[in-house]
Subunit: 334 residues, 2 copies
DNA sequence: TTGAAAGCGCTAACAG
DNA sequence: CTGTTAGCGCTTTCAA
């Protein structure tokens, strides 16, 4: 079942069929209806593989670091929702936790002539991302800074961290500690959200004249990281009265460590997370958290991507969304 | 950068390059090394699109109903792990919650000449699955019954449900209720895991001479469904002493309803789930649940798929794995 | 407005 | 063992 069969069935040329299929310029209404009829009768579907050799594949690839992180799922929803109104089909990959894997996956997407890529929270070097974007329209989600080749969508993590600190301070807390995802590379310190959150925490503490109370446990954005980080903080000579975990999963781990230490939340210690994942909203947990509106981020990414596919040389754009604080039951006045 | 460039650079024919690239029969060692050198020097990568027109795309598509369900993520891990040892690249889609979406996605995968498909917990009619499998090697995960065209991997849901009932009976429970995902279609009653779990529950109750105590709330496999189902059950004149929720998310919803009714788990009522998701394992929840080993299921699916790609006419296989019960803190002696 | 024909990058007969 | 060549199904000039 090829375009030739359809052309024969409709009694026209393959060119005509191709044009009708792509809504291209220069087809009469009667030709359109004849071709459409033939397509329907034969149940013809164009081969994306063959198309790829000449034109578009109508395929967008999304690189996801981890399917288990519900925040990424929100972003995905936003991308999917926007793409549903278009001809593009979304395919994604998951489990790209390091530079090597990311390279493999982006290569695979390029090899398959995908029309555009959405890279969610990539860890690759900026040069690598720039290079990828040079060969295919690309939108990077969750990396600060701008690039001449790719568009980017971020959440204002500095503001987000400040929201938490402001909230805790307004509740009377002064010994507010932070659990961060450890980072040393200078580029990453400027670009990665986790580093921005830590910076936002520091800045906000200083703004509240609490520079002397700054206390950071440097682990990783995992449940385990949260557990270990909280244990560190709880072992301090003077215990913090509040912990700002850099991510909800981190807060979850912290919750375990706090319970293990025989303390209660928010009675003995207040706890806030970041991401406002379903986990945070879940009743028995009910975690105060910063909401990034991943759906909105995803929708913006998809919009930018489609724009760039249609106009590859337009200037790159940087969309920065503003987070909000969702106060729940894990934070309370001191 | 095409195969022609590589051939020219290496001073051989394109055929030679193609053969070396595919480890095909009939290449001398020196030709192999010359070609490999040229490929490396030029940084050449074959176009999957062009390959698709003649041979394989080395692409496997996985259709996932919902990225948020951690059990599906486990299956995905298993598939990915097995595929990592092969040349195949995995791409997935998510959010196929109904028949229309499933049709769209499977079509999209076929259009793109993917070499094989893994369909996770599809809801499409069996005829549709059979048809898909006729045009591309397919493995169906999570649908009971056998097909002449696709291989399948399932968990023994009847045994799984029996494990829960046995456990609760051994704790002294008799009034054991079940929250099921409502199903009426006869084919689906035979094939869908949720229907099998309900059947397993019934059979086990009968086996324990508790036919008279069978009590089913028919809602859906969602948190909301669990909440509503539990409310129904708690409103009975004589309340059940234990609830077997057909899935962990259902148990979560039930947990909320139970708390709302002012009851405690497992003090007033025991609760068990199904899937042994990360949620079930999470400390504060600590839900007794049936473990399906999604990773194992995924690995089996990938193995079967690769086998079938290499030998399309071999007989279809049905792999059925045996679940285990993970007892935690939500079930206790009456 | 319509169609003929070239060619996208690759694989697989087939011939040497 | 190596190379020539004819397509795979589609899009896109370029003429008619």
């Amino acid at each position: 079942m090829t375009i030739v069969d359809v052309a024969r069935h409709a009694g026209v040329s393959t060119t005509a069929v191709s044009k009708v299929l792509r809504n291209a310029y220069g087809t009469s209404p009667q030709m359109r209806s004849r071709v459409s009829a033939a397509v329907d009768e034969l149940g013809y579907r164009p081969s994306a593989a063959a198309r790829a050799l000449r034109g578009r594949t109508w395929t967008v690839g999304v690189m996801l670091p981890d399917v288990r992180n519900p925040f990424f799922a929100d972003i995905l929803d936003g991308v999917a929702e926007h793409l549903d109104d278009t001809e593009y089909q979304l395919f994604m990959t998951s489990g790209c936790d390091d530079v090597t894997n990311e390279a493999r996956v982006t290569e695979a997407m390029i090899d398959r002539s995908m029309d555009g890529l959405v890279l969610i929270a990539p860890v690759s070097a900026k040069e690598r991302l720039t290079e990828v974007a040079r060969s295919v329209p690309t939108v990077v989600v969750g990396r600060h800074g701008s690039s001449p080749t790719y568009d980017s969508v971020t959440d204002d993590d500095i503001t987000g961290a400040a929201l938490v600190v402001d909230h805790l301070v307004s509740l009377g807390h002064r010994r507010i500690a932070h659990i961060e995802h450890h980072e040393t590379d200078p580029v990453r310190l400027a670009e990665m959200p986790n580093a921005q959150r830590a910076r936002g925490y520091r800045d906000a503490m200083i703004a509240h004249n609490l520079a002397g109370e700054i206390d950071i446990a440097s682990t990783s954005y995992t449940q385990q990281g949260g557990y270990l980080g909280a244990r560190q903080l709880l072992a301090r000579r003077i215990r913090p009265t509040a912990i700002f975990a850099g991510a909800d999963v981190v807060a979850l781990g912290a919750l375990e460590a706090i319970a293990e230490a025989g303390l209660t939340v928010p009675g003995d210690i207040s706890l806030a997370g970041y991401d406002n994942s379903a986990l945070a909203a879940f009743g028995p947990i009910s975690l105060t958290s910063v909401d990034q509106d991943g759906r909105q981020m995803g929708a913006n990414a998809a919009r930018l991507l489609v724009e760039r596919i249609n106009q590859r040389d337009r200037r790159t754009a940087q969309v920065k969304l503003t987070p909000t604080l969702v106060v729940r039951r894990t934070t309370a006045a001191i």
